[in-house]
Amino acid sequence: MTPFKQALANRHETVLKYRQPGQKVIGWLCSYFPEEIAYAAGMYPVRLMGGSGETTTADAYLYTNMCSLVRSCLEEGFKGAYSYLDGFVTLNSCDHVRRLYDVWGPSQKTPYTYIIPLPHAISDASLVYFHHEVRQFKESLEAAFGVTITAEALQDAIRVYNKTRTLLGRLNELRKLEEPPITGAEFLEVVLAATTLPREVYNKMLEKFVAEVEARPGIPTDEKVRLLLVGSELDDPAYVQMIEDMGGLVVADDLCTGTKYFWNLAETDGDPLLSLAKRYLTRPECPRMRPARNRLRHLRELIVSHQADAVVMEVIKFCNLYGEDYTIVRNFLRKMDVPLLQLSREYNIGAVGQMRTRVEAFFERIWGA
């Protein structure tokens, strides 16, 4: 088992193992969260993920028509799995996450909670606004925990996180090759581990890993369908593995747990908070952001640069943003003559039989063509 897989498989133990004495752990959800601020405060930011099993208690607090990701996260909270959190921070990324936030505060014992307003548009005006909200968050964190987050600490955090982004960027470049040396499942695993391990530990592991992968032989792709994977939050590499076991190879992704997480660097000069606001606001966009043409243009670039044969869009049931984005992406890809398969799923993998059938049929169609 790779150290990344190990860290993910036992992520709560990972956090407890690496947490320094007295260090605060800040749980976050949504990759628009400016992690560097928590890092600069000397805190340990970790991504909230759900668990396995039913969400019986959470269902009584949220509702069964809320996405299974947030219900699963909340269930983990009720089970005590997140009892080590000193804070929970998110943004108004989607209806489900903001309702999770509304319910988390009163129902969990996390001492500090904060929701950062995120604009839906990308413009000079929205950057000014988001800069303000990022500053508000930083000040809130300082006040709540009695810490001072200096500009120097933020700049240092940006450098550390940029190192991650650069290394992951190198790894992602390898996926463009005719014979990439890394599968989509493994790639997702590596990126996800960044959201669980302390950053310095992770960067060391990653640097070593990237060098190893660069030296690996490639995976023959003659009989594989090169795929761009897009869609809802996905934190289970096994799901990607299933698709790849059936004859696909995920050579690119536009997932918030994948390339969106590290795509662009933060500027290292000037006001670090402005730099962070800019970096997060202008990263590859979620379907909540306007205008849609930016996002579609990015998808086109990914398809071309990674030579994707087709696109798979996985959507968690009730994920309104991706669910309703489907027709827009479909129409766009039709103009490019790129096949698209939409897969509906729950947060936890289940009902794989139907999924297998659909993926197989999709691949056969592509091979036949």
Binding site: D102, H132, E324
Partner: protein
């Protein structure tokens, strides 16, 4: 600038306008409250403007619920709200609701997508609505609203402007929203080749403010015991606010409505003869069966005194002296927006709702858990806990869908409500 486009939606709108005309004539021949006639005249007027612009090749805008339509009125751009249109069609076509829902699903929307949205998309793909020249929406009140207009803009291949509504209305958010409104004005001018006349805007805002003032007063009158009006009437109130707020016809409706309710309250007259239950109806009535409100009134003496769509936030003051601020704050005046958009820790919407139950002397709370509305259903537990803690009144969650009777039928809803009211009666 709007260009020549194919004519779509001509026959459906002609038919609707014709039916409304018959309704108006029928009402005028009877002794009905003036607001009933004013309602249909206002609605018909809105549709006539859209229809006429469509025929003449003039700009038509499709807009979301909470868009500052006053800008459209000031620039003489007829507007059509597809969500409101969808609910209107759905209400009058219950016998063929599947036919209305299926095209949207066939286009690619899942059946978990908001039912009025599925209808709206189906209407677009089957060309039943006038083709818009452009579309204006807002980021509120939910993700589905955000995406609906993007989907429509994609279907029609027309420009889309989405206003970024404040999530938390702090000073920075309001400044950002002000810039957004200015940017929208620029967009409208670009799309139509027209210039917004500030004096005309001020006139429209005066009418809008007067309308909202009446809405505030009506909200206040609804607190009376016995309740002077029922749940179905509230649907008409917000329908007018969505379609012609800022138009004289809309104001006429609200003025008539207010005067009628005031007279009833002054006389101590109730909407129903034997008021046994005062219901806080959280969310909105099932639009495919508005008569369920009549049925509750008749069968159980249960009158809806307060509903989520039908009241105005008293902490938002609209001042037309600052037009841009007015347009920024206007959506927030809808308590539904406060409640469903802002975080609870900021807007205290759960606490406010409990206070509303108290203010309106509601003795039961019923929430329609609209199957395709994740974001509202996510508030149910918070509302229940707050209302129970503060008031201890019975709280009932009624599963269903506002437009799709296949989720829970009218008969099933009524059966569940029967059980609930029986339980309430037994406990008294």
């Amino acid at each position: 600038m709007a260009t020549t486009r194919e004519l779509e939606g001509v026959q459906p709108l002609e038919s609707m306008i014709g039916k409304m005309e018959k309704t108006i004539l029928g009402l005028k021949s009877k002794d009905v409250p003036l607001s009933e006639i004013a309602f249909w005249e206002a609605l018909q007027g809105a549709y006539k403007r859209v229809h006429q612009a469509n025929l003449e090749g003039q700009p038509v805008v499709m807009n979301g619920f909470f868009v500052p339509q006053e800008l459209f009125h000031a620039m003489d751009i007829p507007n059509l709200c597809p969500e409101n249109h969808a609910t209107f069609i759905g209400q009058s076509s219950q016998d063929r609701i599947e036919q209305l829902l299926d095209p949207g699903e066939g286009y690619g929307l899942g059946n978990e997508v908001c039912s009025p949205h599925r209808i709206a998309v189906g209407q677009a793909t089957t060309r039943q609505m006038p083709r818009p020249s452009f579309i204006v929406s807002t980021s509120t009140s939910c993700d589905q609203t955000l995406k609906l207009y993007e989907v429509l803009a994609d279907i029609y291949e027309v420009p889309l402007y989405t206003l970024d509504s404040p999530f938390i209305d702090n000073e920075a958010a309001v400044l950002y929203a002000r810039e957004d409104i200015k940017s929208l004005i620029h967009f409208l001018e670009e799309q139509t080749g027209r210039t917004l006349d500030q004096s005309r805007l001020r006139e429209v805002l005066k009418i809008s403010k007067a309308t909202y003032d009446y809405w505030d007063k009506i909200s206040e009158l609804r607190k009376a015991v016995p309740a002077p009006t029922g749940g179905r009437q509230s649907i008409k109130d917000f329908s007018i606010l969505l379609t012609c707020c800022g138009q004289e016809e809309g104001l006429r409706y609200y003025q008539a409505r207010y005067e009628e309710l005031k007279e009833k309250v002054d006389k101590g007259e109730g909407y129903i003869p034997n008021e046994r239950h005062r219901v806080a109806w959280l969310y909105v009535l099932p639009m495919f069966d508005l008569k369920i409100a009549d049925w509750m009134e008749k069968e159980h003496g249960a009158v809806i005194v307060q509903d989520s769509f039908g009241y105005a936030s008293d902490d938002i003051v609209l001042d037309p002296a600052d037009p841009i601020n007015y347009l920024v704050k206007k959506p927030l005046k809808w308590a539904f927006i406060r409640q469903t958009y802002s975080p609870n820790e900021y807007s205290h919407f759960a606490e406010r709702q409990a206070k509303l139950c108290r203010d309106y002397k509601a003795d039961v709370a019923i929430v329609l858990a609209h199957w395709s509305c994740s974001q509202y259903c996510g508030t149910i537990r918070l509302l229940k806990e707050e209302i129970s803690a503060q008031l201890g009144i019975p709280f009932f969650v009624l599963d269903g869908d506002i437009m799709d009777p296949r989720v829970v039928s009218s008969a099933q809803m009524r059966a569940k409500l029967d059980e609930f009211f029986a339980m309430v009666e037994a406990s008294r």
